[in-house]
């Protein structure tokens, strides 16, 4: 946790996330848009997608450099 992820691991992870999202989209077409249960399933799948996005964003942010992003010497941090 927190360290740089190996590129192969990262690739597997991102592919897994994309596969999950593709499966979610495919499933959504099969659901009835009116029943409460189907709506719940839709919400859970959407939540899984959004969670996948959060994880990908986190991995990207913490893997691309030292985890804090480039410093901008010209502009000081606030506070």
């Amino acid at each position: 946790m927190g360290g740089k992820m190996k590129s192969s691991t990262l690739r597997t992870f991102v592919v897994g996330m994309l596969a999950l999202q593709a499966a979610a989209v495919a499933l959504l077409w099969l659901l009835s848009a009116f029943s409460i249960q189907a709506t719940a399933a839709f919400a859970f799948l959407l939540a899984a997608d959004v969670m996948a996005f959060a994880v990908v964003a986190h991995v990207y942010r913490t893997s691309k450099d030292d985890g804090t992003g480039p410093e901008d010497p010209a502009t000081p941090a606030r506070a």
Binding site: G2, T39, A41, A43, H58, R61, T68, A77
Partner: protein, 498 residues
């Protein structure tokens, strides 16, 4: 040379993103970098409130397609969304819980800033703007509640609007009534509420948000009151790093919202009619339950009503001008026991009043009982607060003397904090929702053993979430290295380092 090679190797997507960046100026330092210590969920509660506002804007705009602001068809147009629009129930549910979360996050943002003294110089006007935005958020709740034209929404709104009558001075009453369209009958009133909800309030809120962001850019996030390592002060670029961090938090918030929406889908209450209204007991939504309960105290009935209204107005007024009252230079929680205790008592009283209001719909509360409950709550909270304060100091001393140190890396700590924060947010929402539902069921269906066990379990869960939150704050405090300062304060008396 390296850049040229990098440019040649870049794929079409990367090239497109770079082109977009060069045109839109996304990575230009429009917003200044934020300090490393602010990469922490507690610094972004206000931003999450804005995220909730955006979700409300998106879902609300979609709902406008079907909604008709006319009392004769408002209910049918809302009901149509539930029954005949694809994922209509889901959309309505997300809009409702999005509103709840926006109010809850605004409250959390206010209380957090109060406890960590972010309202003090030079951020006094940021607090005033924030209070204005919080007030408008409640306005969103009040005006939006009426729109579906259900029996509970119309009845509760009428109770609220009744307060704009005789208790107020005639000039003020007339102004309020004409602004809200009350004097023009139900049709005018609904259209006015609709206009205020979708146009006026968003416009004013966005103006205040712009002003607050402008001041935020000038002053930045308030630094922790305690000493922080130099590494924690270095700048993190706002784009893409801080923006990505915000997106991560926003995504976690959206996940919580979606899960709750899936677990507790909203069901539209019955349509308003005079007959249905006479059979129902008006009760406001949870965020106004505390005012509802105050107004039900016997002493504030009839001639006492102006006193209650004055007290409630005074509370809001004090909150607005708080930075000009709480002007001491001390910002550490440990050194502001009186103000911290007042804040904790306020939270406890609002919680007790809200819960009490939920379980006693329509009942007038004897004045002696109100004094006993509210006074008792304040007394118990104050005593517990003092004990916890003392114990906390003793515990901190023990930790330092045993040489205990965190072995977790800063990044792992960040991730854990975000995860636990999300868990607490979801758990808290579920527990509060379950408690209110359980209490309401018991109030309407009577007390049963199963219902009682259910309610106690949910209340215990609320307690666990509260304890978890306190513990999280405590651990964050430890991680930020404030122990030495605190123990030094205990041993040799407080000495401000700033």
């Amino acid at each position: 040379m390296a850049d040229e090679t990098s440019e040649e190797k870049a794929g079409p997507v990367v090239k497109f993103v770079r082109w977009l960046d060069s045109r839109l100026g996304l990575s230009y330092p429009l917003l200044r970098p934020v300090p490393q210590y602010s990469i922490n969920p507690f610094y972004w509660i206000g931003a999450l409130t804005v995220v909730a506002f955006v979700i409300q804007g998106v879902t609300g705009t979609i709902l406008l397609i079907w909604y008709v602001p006319d009392p004769t068809v408002a209910y049918q147009s809302t009901s149509y969304v539930f029954s005949s629009v694809n994922y209509g129930r889901f959309l309505e549910t997300v809009h409702l819980y999005g509103a709840y979360s926006m109010i809850l996050l605004a409250l959390m943002h206010m209380m957090r800033n109060y406890f960590v003294s972010s309202h003090k110089s030079p951020r006094e006007l940021m607090w005033v703007f924030g209070m204005g935005m919080g007030f408008l958020t409640l306005g969103f709740g009040f005006t939006g509640y009426l729109l579906p034209w259900t029996v509970v929404s119309v009845d509760a709104t009428n109770v609220g609007l009744g307060l704009l009558g005789p208790p107020l001075p005639p000039a003020l009453s007339n102004l309020a009534q004409s602004l809200l369209g009350i004097s023009g009958g139900a049709a005018t009133e609904l259209v006015r509420f609709y206009d205020i909800h979708i146009l006026i309030l968003p416009a004013i809120l966005l103006l205040l948000l712009f002003g607050k962001m402008y001041m935020f850019e000038a002053h930045g996030a308030a630094a922790p009151a305690k000493a922080i390592p130099e590494a924690q002060k270095r700048g993190v670029s706002f784009f893409p790093d801080a923006t990505l961090y915000l997106l991560e938090l926003a995504a976690l918030f959206a996940v919580a919202l979606l899960v709750i929406s899936a677990l507790f889908p909203y069901t539209l209450p019955a349509q308003y009619s005079v007959a249905a209204s006479q059979a129902a007991t008006p009760q406001p939504d949870w965020y106004f339950l505390w005012t509802y309960q105050v107004l039900k105290i016997a002493a504030f009935e009839g001639a006492g009503l102006p006193i209650a209204l004055t007290l409630i107005t005074a509370l809001f007024a004090v909150l607005f001008v708080l930075p000009f009252i709480d002007r001491g230079g001390e910002r550490r929680i440990a050194n502001r026991p009186k103000f911290v205790m007042l804040g904790v008592i306020l939270i406890a009283e609002l919680t007790v009043l809200s819960y009490w209001g939920k379980v006693t719909p329509g009942q007038i509360i004897p004045t002696e009982q109100a004094v006993l409950v509210l006074g008792g709550t304040a007394l118990i909270v104050a005593v517990v607060f003092v004990v916890v304060y003392r114990v906390m100091f003793a515990r901190l001393s023990g930790k330092l003397s045993s040489g205990a140190q965190s072995t977790m890396s800063f990044k792992s700590a960040q991730l854990w904090t975000a995860a636990i924060f999300t868990l607490l947010l979801v758990g808290g929402a579920l527990a509060i929702s379950g408690s209110i539902t359980g209490a309401a069921e018991m109030a309407s269906l009577g007390i049963t053993a199963a219902g009682l066990i259910n309610l106690v379990a949910y209340l215990a869960a609320v307690g666990l979430v509260v304890l978890g939150t306190v513990y999280l704050i405590y651990r964050l405090d430890l991680a930020n290295g404030s122990i030495k300062t605190r123990v030094a304060a205990l041993q040799v008396g407080w000495k401000d380092e700033e």
